[in-house]
């Protein structure tokens, strides 16, 4: 198990390293003159030159990459080109907001979708399954921007004030979270259903039934216990969906999260901000996956105890 964790960690480090390179390469290709953005539309050439030297944009790319990575790792994320604000606290704050929204979304989406998936699988082919299938299908076709726009139509625009007490904060997050929930819901429910069906087909289920165990015990103790494992993976994969979905949701609801900050950074050609957001997102995504992997391993005796 320790070896497994170490291997996963090394793997994660490598992936994130290559990804950081990719992020750097892509952002370096961004067209447009950063200094022009910083200084606005009304300054002259001389000021621009000085600004470029100031930002180290005249250095060769590899030097810039390693400087950037080194500073990033040391927690020195610099300040945003376009607003001059310190990036670290800004990103941390927005990350915090996004994580609140994401957490609430998962909190709604995962239990419901897993329950729906399990229910559908246990009633495969019967009306409950059909209803759930139709529901999740209908929901599959609703991109966040459609759901969001419709929800705003019906329920009005949610409060967007910061620093509210907990329950109010949850209330304010409810509509955006619901928007992000829908697609996730369908996706997780469908995969869970497939996973449980797969487990139900396994021979050990018949073994349990043939012991004479009540159906309830067979389902809870045997089937769900095993079906939980692939579900963990499904939920982990859905993080990616969630992150993508949140970008749209935060923009629809004007929610101060990382996704909106990201679109902001792109439209402003704000490289350091963009790089920081991308890297932190990748890191978060990777850590979430790692957590899921480890949870999977911890619950799966095949990995936990080896042979």
């Amino acid at each position: 198990m320790t070896a497994y964790i170490l291997r996963r960690l090394a793997f994660l480090a490598l992936t994130v390293f290559i990804t950081s390179l990719l992020i750097f390469v892509i952002t370096q290709l961004l067209p447009g003159d950063v200094c022009r953005v910083i200084l606005g539309r009304e300054v002259g050439e001389g000021a621009l030159e000085a600004c470029r030297a100031d930002l180290g944009l005249d250095q060769p790319a590899p030097v810039r990459y390693f400087t950037w990575l080194g500073e990033f790792l040391r927690g020195d994320w610099g300040s945003s080109y376009s607003t001059d604000a310190e990036i670290l606290p800004l990103v941390v704050d927005r990350l915090n907001n996004s994580m609140q929204l994401g957490a609430l979304t998962l909190l709604i989406a995962v239990p419901i979708s897993v329950a729906l998936g399990v229910m559908a699988a246990l009633n495969a082919g019967r009306w409950a399954d059909n209803m759930i299938s139709i529901f999740s299908l209908a929901v599959v076709g609703l991109p966040e921007f459609v759901t969001g726009v419709l929800l705003i139509q019906f329920f009005g625009f949610p409060s967007i004030r910061g620093d509210l007490p907990f329950f109010e904060a949850v209330g304010r997050l409810l509509l955006p979270a619901l928007t992000a929930t829908f697609v996730l819901l369908a996706y997780v429910a469908r995969l869970t259903r497939a996973g449980v069906l797969e487990e139900l087909r396994q021979a050990y289920v018949r073994t349990a039934v043939l012991k004479g165990l009540p159906r309830r015990v067979v389902i809870w103790k045997h089937v769900l216990r095993n079906a939980l494992l692939p579900t963990i993976t499904v939920v982990a994969i859905s993080f990616g969906w969630l992150i993508s979905g949140l970008v749209v949701v935060e923009n629809v609801f004007n929610y101060p999260g990382l996704g909106r900050l990201m679109v902001f950074a792109i439209t402003r050609r704000d490289l350091p901000l963009l790089q920081a957001i991308s890297l932190i997102t990748v890191l978060g995504f990777a850590l979430a996956n790692l957590a899921a992997d480890l949870l999977y391993a911890a619950l799966n005796p095949r990995i936990r105890v080896g042979s």
Partner: protein, 497 residues
């Protein structure tokens, strides 16, 4: 001074007595995020709205009478030759950091703004100033090199906010204005608080202002409808229409001289051939555009920045030619584009501009002008100087109290924002006359000729003058929408009794 023209007068939608003299209540305003915070660099409505709340101008322009009125300057004297202006400054004014305000701050501010080396937009505007001197603790004297009929209006330029003496980097919001900045969070919001030491009695009326940033007008209006913000200014016509009859919201619309300028670069192909812009003008059906994009709000345009609101200068007889697709085609063919002309039209994503682009694309296509539309966030369109570079673009120009501004910054040869890179000697001469003469008749005549020239050979198409829209919660009174939305004073707003 010159008899001021009388353009857009704002309206006072919700009148009434303030609930109390103490500032109270929070106004939440939805607006685009800021790009610049240094008063010398600001340009967008939201930037100016913030600056106008945090700093003070020396002179303000009254939205109703359109006449210069005191702000930091309590009064002024103009010499007979129109070259020397001396101002008396308000007493007991302090900056937010507690330091007292004096004439030195005014000198510093205007010396900075007119410094040619800094290459600010105001550098050219204030070229005409020979010197700015503190002639007393609270007295400033401006000396001009030539008479300027609109000098007081120039002093009220959007950038001319007074900063503290010695400030190099003016991004720290240290003004004398009615509000102080509590918190600025670049893509989220800026929180303002009433300045308890503000020198005008009874102002500001609000204890707090939150300007919440939205990149998206629809979301702003949704938020207003949902009661999540209290004030939205500047929106597209359909959005404004959608606010009609919503409970608890007062809508305000005023005609303005603001316009969406369709302009073609004149210094290189294809625009270097004047027949091309002429063909475009012939291919354009202004009335239809106005109906579709503005739904009848505002006014139809006539390709000149001197709109009908400048009643003293506007010449209703000067009209662009009626739409004639065949003639347009013929002109294009003469210019060498018999097989059609392909161009990219750059458009900021706000207001009715994307719609204008869509309609133009359709109208022009019939004449063989094929445009591809690139809709860009406003901050991108202006952010990288793209708007000064591209061949074909649509730029929104806000409303100004006097027309000379447009000519001097947009159309005379070498003007800072001469985005069409147009140069016409006759036009330049007329513009100069209009700007410097102290004879009101001469000025009117010059403006009439200018309108004629622009219709005949100007590099721009102005299809309409847009209205200014706002929606505000009925919980507030004292809101007076300005034609240039960013210049709206937040400090006159109060909570309704």
């Amino acid at each position: 001074g010159p008899a001021a023209a009388t353009p857009a007068a704002g309206e006072t939608p919700a009148a009434g007595e303030p609930a109390s003299m103490e500032p109270q209540g929070t106004l939440r305003v939805a607006f685009q995020p800021l790009v610049q915070t240094d008063p010398a660099l600001i340009s967008s409505d939201s930037e100016i709205l913030v600056a106008n709340s945090v700093y003070d101008y020396l002179v303000d322009i009254d939205p109703v009478s359109n006449q210069p009125i005191p702000r930091l300057a309590t009064g002024w004297d103009v010499s007979d030759d129109g070259l020397i202006y001396s101002f008396t400054l308000a007493e007991g004014v302090t900056f937010h950091d507690g330091s007292p305000f004096s004439a030195a701050d005014v000198v510093w501010t205007f010396d900075r703004l007119r410094d040619p080396a800094a290459e600010y937009a105001t550098s050219t505007l204030y070229e005409n100033i020979a010197s700015v001197e503190a002639t007393g603790e609270l007295e400033v004297t401006f000396t001009l090199t030539a008479p300027n009929a609109f000098f007081l209006y120039d002093l009220s330029d959007n950038h001319a906010l007074v900063i503290k003496d010695g400030t190099e980097d003016a991004t720290d919001f240290n003004g004398t204005g009615p509000f102080t900045v509590v918190d600025y969070s670049p893509e989220d919001r800026i929180s303002l608080e009433a300045n308890p030491d503000y020198f005008v009695e009874g102002q500001p009326g609000l204890a707090n202002v939150e300007i919440i940033f939205f990149s998206d007008e629809t979301a702003m209006v949704d938020a207003l409808k949902g009661g999540q913000v209290d004030l939205v200014m500047r929106m597209s016509t359909p959005l404004f229409e959608s606010l009609q009859g919503v409970d608890g919201i007062v809508t305000v619309d005023i005609p303005t001289n603001g316009f969406d300028l369709v302009r073609l670069r004149a210094d290189r192909a294809p625009g270097s051939d004047p027949r091309v812009i002429q063909a475009m003008k012939l291919a354009t059906e202004r009335e239809a555009i106005w109906q579709l994009v503005q739904q009848g709000y505002g006014a139809v345009g006539n390709d000149s920045p001197i709109g009908p609101l400048y009643t003293a200068y506007y010449d209703p007889n000067v009209q662009p030619p009626a739409r004639d697709v065949e003639a347009a085609r013929a002109l294009l063919a003469e210019a060498g584009y018999a097989d059609g002309l392909d161009l990219t039209l750059h458009v900021p994503n706000t207001g009715g501009r994307p719609d204008l682009a869509a309609v133009l694309q359709q109208q022009w296509a019939e004449a063989g002008i094929n445009i591809e539309i690139s809709v860009e966030p406003e901050e991108v369109y202006f952010g990288e100087n793209g708007w000064l570079e591209v061949d074909l673009g649509i730029t929104n120009w806000g409303s100004r109290p006097y027309p000379q501004f447009y000519l001097d910054t947009m159309l005379v040869s070498g003007a800072v924002w001469n985005e069409s890179h147009w140069s016409d000697a006759e036009f330049d001469a007329l513009a100069n006359t209009a700007g410097t003469t102290l004879d009101e008749n001469e000025r009117s005549q010059a403006y009439a000729q200018i309108q004629q020239i622009l219709v005949e050979r100007g590099p721009v198409i102005i299809a309409y003058y847009f209205p200014q829209f706002a929606g505000i919660s009925d919980q507030f009174i004292g809101f007076q929408l300005e034609a240039f939305a960013g210049r709206t004073d937040l400090h006159t707003i109060h909570v309704a009794p």
